[in-house]
């Protein structure tokens, strides 16, 4: 990443002074907890420091609240996935339950996969999961989804492309 396509730290500091307490209030109205709101407000400014945005902001509050909204959604998705993960682990026979460390590695990978798949059309998501997790062949997937073989290949490539971008985004 190049330095010059992000906002200058001094600019971010000014934005922080001008809008931080407003943002905290905005978040508090939504999450209903002032500590949680304060954390999210901090995270929003951290995100702003790394955001690709070279020119000064014209509508700083709209921009800040859209970052904050994204963070809230990420958190919500994360909670939903973690919850589903705990439930699924509870269904596993004891012998198949992974070790503590491995559990976290898997969770991390699933969080990323979930985020990647979320950006995709439902059919693409479905095709990818049928291939990757259910072990169906391309021909079988094409039959099941009633599309052509070439479409399934394209869908799989699209899904892998989304996974790739998240996997290597901030390496």
């Amino acid at each position: 990443m190049q330095i010059n396509d992000t906002l200058k730290p001094t600019e971010v500091a000014l934005l922080y002074q001008a809008h931080h307490s407003w943002l905290r209030g905005w978040l508090r109205n939504r999450v209903g907890c002032s500590e949680h709101a304060a954390d999210l407000a901090q995270d929003t400014f951290v995100r702003l420091l790394r955001a690709r945005q070279a020119s000064p902001l014209k509508e700083p509050r709209a921009y800040l609240s859209s970052i904050a909204r994204g963070l809230m959604i990420d958190q919500f998705r994360r909670r939903a996935l973690e919850h589903a993960y705990q439930q699924s682990l509870a269904h596993l026979p004891e012998a198949e339950v992974p070790s503590e460390e491995h559990r976290l590695v898997i969770l991390d990978a699933l969080l990323r996969l979930d985020r990647a798949l979320h950006q995709l059309k439902p059919r693409v998501r479905q095709a990818f999961l049928l291939a990757q997790l259910d072990g169906l062949s391309i021909v079988q997937i094409a039959q099941q989804l009633e599309v052509s073989r070439a479409t399934v290949e394209r869908d799989l490539a699209k899904a892998l492309g989304a996974c790739y971008r998240l996997r290597y985004a901030d390496a």
């Binding site: 209903g32 919500f76 919850h83 589903a84 898997i106 996969l113 291939a131 997790l133 490539a157």
Partner: protein, 150 residues
């Protein structure tokens, strides 16, 4: 990062090869073409290394556990969305008994106004109408001169 990232074109090609080699039964000819591709550009090996590593990581996920988790998470989220649709119809002036398990769900987080569990709020909006937001509800307001959307 120590090594420069491979260009998008190389990554896209590597992904196409991954699809052919991992999700299909590749013929000997396909394998041969793949080797040819690999040697045809100095950046192809790096692109392939990254893409195939991603493929290995995905293949290493426990299948049943992953499937259940992803589907379960999706179900939870879409049931929240159904609540949200319901709210869109019933929020104003209704007595809505929607209780979330967590203090605030996604609908409230994203709405213009929302109430926590046990909280009710009533106010007058700019067109003169009154809104009563019941406990644990959320509402989005969109106005124009001709119509308003809640």
């Amino acid at each position: 990062m120590h090594e420069p990232a491979p260009a998008q074109a190389q990554v896209d090609q590597a992904i196409d090869w991954l699809v052919k080699l991992r999700f299909d039964r590749p013929s000997a000819r396909t394998e041969e073409q793949f080797q040819h591709w690999l040697a045809s550009h100095p950046h192809n090996p790096l692109a392939w290394q990254r893409v195939s590593q991603l493929g290995d990581e995905l293949a290493g996920l426990p299948k049943d556990l992953s499937r259940r988790t992803l589907d379960g998470s999706q179900r939870q989220r879409s049931s929240r969305r159904d609540h949200l649709k319901l709210l869109g119809l019933l929020a104003v002036g209704g007595s809505l008994g929607w209780a979330t398990r967590e203090p605030l769900g996604l609908p409230q987080l994203l709405a213009d106004s929302s109430t926590a569990t046990g909280e009710r709020r009533q106010w007058q909006v700019s067109d003169g109408s009154h809104i009563l937001l019941n406990t644990a509800s959320a509402i989005d307001l969109h106005y124009s001169a001709e119509q308003r959307q809640l």
